[in-house]
Amino acid sequence: MAEFLSEYALALLMVVTLLAGIFSGYPVAFLLGGLGIVFAFIGDIPVPFLGTVGSRIFGGVIENWLMIAIPLFVFMGLMLERSGVAKRLLLTLQRLFGRTHGGLAVSVAILGVIMAASTGIIGASVVMLGLLALPVMMKQGYRAEMACGVIAASGTLGILIPPSIMLVLMGSILQISVGALFKAALLPGLLLGGLYIAYLLITARIRPDWAPLADMADVDPTPLPLALLRDLLGPFVLIFVVLGSIMAGIATPTEAAAIGALGSLLLALAMRSLDFATLREAVRETSRTSAMILFVVIGATCFSVVFKRLGGDYMIEELITGTGLGPYGLMLLIMGLIFVLGFFLEWIEISFVVLPLVAPVVEVLDFGYGLSGQGLLVWFAILVAINLQTSFLTPPFGYALFYLKGITEGQVSILTIYRSIIPFVLLQVTGLVLCMVFPALVLWLPGLMP
């Protein structure tokens, strides 16, 4: 143990410094990038090696076409919010649930699932959902914890429910069919969405004051069918166009984001709530908000490459391969390790470090379900995917939480957001255990059940 600590002292110190550093309140993005540089010097890493950081920023962010979805979805969210479309949509959806407490939160979870089907970029869906729903929920007197939790958790479903860049990357690292992974992830994704909704309805029943109903004075007197037609038609056409253009093969998911952005602009125009000042503000805020998201990615790429160079990846390797555990013991160890790594590393880095290492080990294990080959790897990959999705939500270092924090403009403290996510993380773990115990949840849809 002492030997382990001394060998990986710098990598461990780097993590500890990061965790201590974020509580200083200095911007997370700059802290990540700066610590990378500082520790490169402490660790005596040759300076030219840091040239990898520029390449990683260029290839991972600037040239990464998939990232274009971020500003486009942020803009779409802002446009829908500014034009009042979002508010009317959510309030009318809530009327659908009648006088059920928590109806608004359930609407948000459903919107999250829909967003998830149109993008696989977490920053895009969390921020868009937050822009749409947070103001409405706060105004209605929702407990901040309830509002933030459902937004952050539903926003991260995008990385599980296809299309998802995470599943594509896993497919390429493990060399398994992306199509099989897409199909396999669908039920677990919907299961998690279902767990959220069940939790929201139950909690709202026990604590109605956490999820108050809209003020009667606020509820508009238009008969429900008419209100539905008026308030839902526009957004539903928009959703239909975005999802439809992907389904029909007119656009890739990234391109569909632009169609959505244009649609929201036209919708605002149709609602007569678009003037130059609104557009200008939306454009400016989009630029700042998406830079906020992308600079976290930029900082993280610098932190990770130095962390690994300081032996961080050997450290993880030693942890995994150095044990003589049986199949379930090993599986639990791997899951636990990913969960912990998710506290401070980005999912891409975790996938790179952990997957190639564990795949050959897991491939030959017998879990007693008669799983082997492709089926076993797909099942394993989905378990890892659910776990990685959770890592976006786990404090103190959860990217989804940061993105949400970034758009609250100081109205909600990070502590509130940390508290908000606890029940949802427990739901995630529940979902993970269910998929572990019932592999059919994962393997039935792609037809890989033994």
Binding site: F49, G59, E63, G249, P253, T254
Partner: protein, 333 residues
């Protein structure tokens, strides 16, 4: 001091597939050749730097070494188009002969010298396939308006036949093909394609891979790092490289055919481009080639040299041509 004992290698392919596994194999051969003194630590694509940044990072010294498909650098070193994906090029055997007994490696190294990169051609992938199609290609006209994901010289050839060749990032190809955002895509050899799951989203698997007759992969090493090694070590690298190449040439072809048979069982229709189509493609290639040679003297020089060399090989095999072998039948015991 002798160079690094453990060379960090940024691979441009997953080591789980045949293309990236080449680097792992090279590491083993290198350990054998050096008596365990030197090995490679192969990093997955993106682990150190993104795949497309490998050449540039080896050149700057940010990373020590890389494992690449040469065609990736065509935007920077246009001559690599010839080594990576040359339409209607010579067979892998003829190509290898040019690399080791002709001018192939030398011409490439001259270009890489400008960037301080040492190149060791270590691996050849078998001819790629003609690609995955959701539309039948019965005549050259069927390319008109076809939207396909393909890059490099092959794309230029198709453009002339009216195809819309597109850039779709690796991560979105599957979906783009499934939904019909593109009608076709080329990717790699069957073994690698099968792992991408393209059989689930495309109907036809076309042959031959006219756009790429043989494609080279190499170990790139930063020149300063390379120079740290003694002459003996350098020779050991070369030996390991040649042995890896031999392994690749022996291993790959039968494995591809086994994979194709599996794909057929899954319902993929394996097709061959009609002769008329191949003729049209080659006519179009001749025009692209003319343009390429005019615009790019280094390419012209290498192409001439390669063709001349391949001509010798062809002549030899023509002289030695035999009738098809009569297969074994029930009567043989």
């Amino acid at each position: 001091a002798d160079g690094p004992k453990r060379l960090d290698v940024a691979s441009t392919f997953s080591t789980k597939n045949f293309l990236g596994a080449g680097a792992e194999h090279l590491s083993k051969e290198l350990q054998t050749a050096t008596g365990g003194a030197v090995s490679l630590r192969v990093h997955e694509p993106g682990d150190l730097v993104p795949a497309f940044e490998v050449f540039n990072s080896v050149s700057s010294g940010a990373i020590q070494a890389g494992w690449d498909w040469m065609g990736y650098w065509a935007g920077t070193v246009p001559i690599t188009n010839l080594y990576g994906a040359l339409p209607f090029g010579p067979s892998p055997e003829a190509f290898m002969s040019w690399m080791w007994s002709g001018e192939g490696t030398e011409l490439l190294q001259t270009e890489y010298d400008k960037y301080g990169v040492k190149v060791l051609p270590c691996f050849i992938s078998p001819q790629e396939t003609g690609g995955w199609y959701n539309k039948e290609i019965n005549s050259p006209e069927d390319f008109d308006g076809l939207s396909m994901r393909i890059s490099g010289l092959g794309a230029k050839v198709l453009n002339r036949l009216g195809a819309s060749t597109q850039l779709v990032p690796g991560g979105e190809i599957y979906l783009a093909l499934e939904r019909g955002r593109v009608d076709a895509t080329e990717f790699s050899v069957p073994q690698v394609d099968a792992a991408m799951g393209f059989d689930e989203v495309a109907k036809y698997y076309y042959f031959p891979g006219w756009h790429q007759s043989a494609s080279w992969f190499s170990l790139l090493i930063n020149q300063a790092v390379w120079d740290e090694y003694s002459d003996e070590r350098k020779a050991q690298f070369e030996t390991a490289c040649r042995s890896t190449l031999q392994w690749a040439m022996a291993e790959a072809p039968p494995e591809q055919v086994r994979t194709i048979h599996e794909l057929e069982e899954k319902g993929v229709e394996v097709r061959r481009f009609p002769d008329e189509v191949l003729d049209a493609l080659q006519q179009s290639w001749v025009e692209v080639r003319r343009e390429e040679m005019e615009n790019n003297p280094a390419f012209a020089k290498a192409y001439r040299s390669l063709m001349e060399h391949a001509g010798l090989i062809d002549e030899w095999y023509e002289l030695q041509a035999m009738p098809p072998i009569i297969p074994l039948d029930e009567g043989d015991s």
